[in-house]
């Protein structure tokens, strides 16, 4: 696996800020960012449910394996040199339910969080 495609929500300030932060990180796996449900995303993945990708972060491997929501976040962490160890810790059976709850809560409230943090347009 040499690269991951990240489908992110370009309309969310928090997501754009996260995108900028990721761009500066040292990566073990290449990350390509494509806005979710965009023409580019539809062209690359004709069979994907693009309405679903608007709800939460989606990561797709070169071979077409899809990671959605909290798993996509863990895959992004795994791609980063500094945080690969954390991706395993957060994915351990004891921590995975908490990880999923926290990540889902952030994803579902991302517009409110963006507004509160002054990151929206």
């Amino acid at each position: 696996m040499l690269s991951l495609t990240v489908l992110y929500d370009i309309e969310c300030g928090l997501c754009r800020r996260a995108h900028e932060w990721l761009a500066d990180q040292l990566k073990l796996v290449e990350l390509n960012f494509v806005p979710c449900a965009s023409d580019e995303a539809r062209r690359r993945y004709p069979q994907l449910n693009h309405d679903l990708t608007k709800q939460d972060l989606t990561v797709i491997t070169e071979d077409g394996w899809v990671y959605f929501g909290p798993k996509a976040w863990l895959m992004v962490l795994w791609a980063l040199a500094r945080y690969r160890d954390w991706s395993y810790r957060l994915a351990a059976p004891e921590l995975l339910p908490t990880t999923k709850r926290v990540v889902s809560a952030i994803s579902q409230n991302r517009y409110q969080i963006s507004r509160a943090a002054g990151l929206s347009n």
Binding site: Y45, W65, F68, R84, S87
Partner: protein, 134 residues
Amino acid sequence: MTIGLSTYLIYLAISIALTIWVGRTLHKNGRVFLVDVFHGNEALADSVNHLLVVGFYLINFGYVSLVLNLGYTIETAEQSVEALSVKIGMVLLVLGGMHLFNLFVFSRMRRRAHTHQQPPVGPDAFTTVQQEAA
């Protein structure tokens, strides 16, 4: 030369020889492990191997030096042999402990290097990927 001084000198000679022997064994046989851990990067493996051995020597020579003092006077050859057996036995145990610890570190590094190639979670679904137009 008094029997006490000879006891100290014999102790130092045996301890130093043992430490160097174990250190060289670690250095020679640890390299293969480290080359594997660092995915064939031999320069990095050699560097880490050398640094580990330096640490090993520092700890062992430090210990040998710290426990040199017997705290009593030796008068007979029998006492000298007894004192030597206790001191060298302690050095051997510390060397053994360090050696096992080193093996533990090597095998742990090796396991991590191998397992961490796999993603932390399994995928949710599969989709076809449209290849870039040539």
